[in-house]
Amino acid sequence: MKLINAKQSQMIAKTIIWITSIIVVSLLFVIIGYILFKGLPTLSWQFLTESPKSMGREGGILPTIISTLMVTAVAILVATPFGVGTAFYLTEFTRETKVTRIIRFSAESLAAIPSIVYGLFGFIFFVIYLKLGWSVLSGGLTMAVMILPTIIRTSEEAILSVPVKYREVSYSLGGTKWQTIVGAVLPSAFPGITTGIILGIGRCVAETAAVILTAGSALRMPDSLFSPARTMAVHFYILAREGISMERAYGTASLLILIILVINVGANMLVNKFVAKSR
């Protein structure tokens, strides 16, 4: 005896799937909408271009924007070559061995570690041991270590999804391994690798705990890689945590969301433009 027939089970499944996705999507819109609703009125030219006054109660947030960009840039510039290089090593230059399994397992484990642990590591290694102090560089390098697993994994997936046929064509046309990677594999893996980098940027921009421990929270304009810095996420955290100004906290958060949005859209356009040329 069946309690429900196939058609009914289909209906029920469809309804459940609909409801879950509607809940998820609306939750997302509510959060973003709420932050933008609270924060957008604070955004002004002055807010974007001036330095904060009295700990952020007044004035703008320009130094935190610059700090965020600098820390993220350091992280991405360091993590991308290492991450993509490792991914290529794992996929193209070795066959599955104990060593590759250990590297892959380590990368996966690293991805699951809470960011505060990276912060502690960065504090001990970059800030104290390498004597870089609380600085953009320490923060950026710590972020680089933190996003490395993400970039390795996504790049690896992207490289593995390039059809073997492309490699065979390249080899059969007299390509060396390196020519094949650059000419046939990289162009096809590029969109996927970019996705990994965007995820990395997202994590850098949003990180607080690890940044406070390594880049500090000085509310000055960083004038070099060795200056201490306060990123937007940290600024937001301190404004809200210490009750300095919720209004400005929301303003900062809105800007953070907008920046991430711009980066995502920009990177997508870049990838699409690239893909359009080849398909």
């Binding site: 059809p163 390249s170 080899y171 046309l173 007299g174 080849s278």
Partner: protein, 253 residues
């Protein structure tokens, strides 16, 4: 047809791990002929092709014994440059594999790998190759549009052009028309007959009739063994081995 042997295969045994896919095959292909190597699936034909331009080097667990000579030289001797060998022995795959780039870039891919950067030379090579593969008139106005937008038949002719741009000596074609419609197949077969004036062509036909239509000589492989080989008309009209007869007449396969 010249009588000189372009390719000689001597006592070739080929293994994937412990599984033997080619059993003691001897074979000779002369310059400027079309040699069709036919047989049902899993006969070892594709493996033999992959061994010929050492694409099988890339396969995990592949191991071969015996000798393959091209122009009398062992392709596995230490002083043979593999990439150079692959340039001389071009391979066309069953499914047309166009790289996700423009028509022009697809064909210029090989010449560029060999270090040619001059735009005029590349353009000339691309045009020549496309004319030889009878694709030029169809694509000359859209050389810079993506190759993946071409039809299946056009893509396969593009792949042929891509090989021709390297000016190889031998062209290996692994069921080049299996995924194509009859008209595209006809066009490709037509160009092959022209191409053999310049190149030595080995083809694994996707059916027996194709071998009969275009090949000068044929070899019939079954389960990794070379059952019979000889002039097409001899093998097709008067097969010596019962298995060849059964396969050609469609009793199995």
């Amino acid at each position: 047809m010249s009588q000189q042997a372009k390719i000689e295969i001597k006592n070739l045994n080929f293994f994937y791990n412990d599984h033997q896919v080619i059993k003691d095959v001897n074979m000779e292909v002369r310059a400027n002929e079309i040699y069709a190597l036919f047989g049902p699936a899993n006969s070892g034909t594709t493996t033999l092709f992959r061994a010929l331009n050492r694409l099988s080097d890339l396969d995990v667990g592949a191991r071969m014994e015996g000798k393959i000579l091209i122009d009398g030289k062992d392709i596995r001797s230490n002083d043979v440059n593999v990439t150079e060998l692959r340039r001389r022995v071009g391979m066309i795959f069953e499914e047309p594999v166009t790289l996700p780039m423009s028509i022009f870039d697809n064909i210029a891919y090989g010449p560029r790998l060999s270090g040619i950067k001059d735009k005029d030379i590349l353009a000339q090579k691309v045009e020549n190759a496309l004319r030889l593969s009878v694709l030029w008139d169809e694509v000359k106005d859209r050389l810079h549009s993506p190759a993946l937008r071409l039809s299946g038949g056009q893509q396969q002719r593009l792949c042929i052009a891509r090989i021709l741009a390297l000016e190889p000596e031998v062209i290996l074609m692994d069921r080049p028309c299996a995924a194509l419609d009859p008209i595209s197949t006809y066009k490709i077969e037509e160009s092959l007959v022209q191409l053999k004036e310049r190149y030595t062509i080995l083809i694994i036909p996707h059916n027996v009739q194709q071998a009969g239509r275009i090949a000068d000589r044929v070899g019939f492989m079954l389960m990794g063994e070379m059952v019979e080989q000889g002039l097409t008309k001899d093998v097709f009209t008067n097969p010596k081995d019962q298995r060849t007869n059964d396969y050609i007449t469609g009793r199995f396969g």
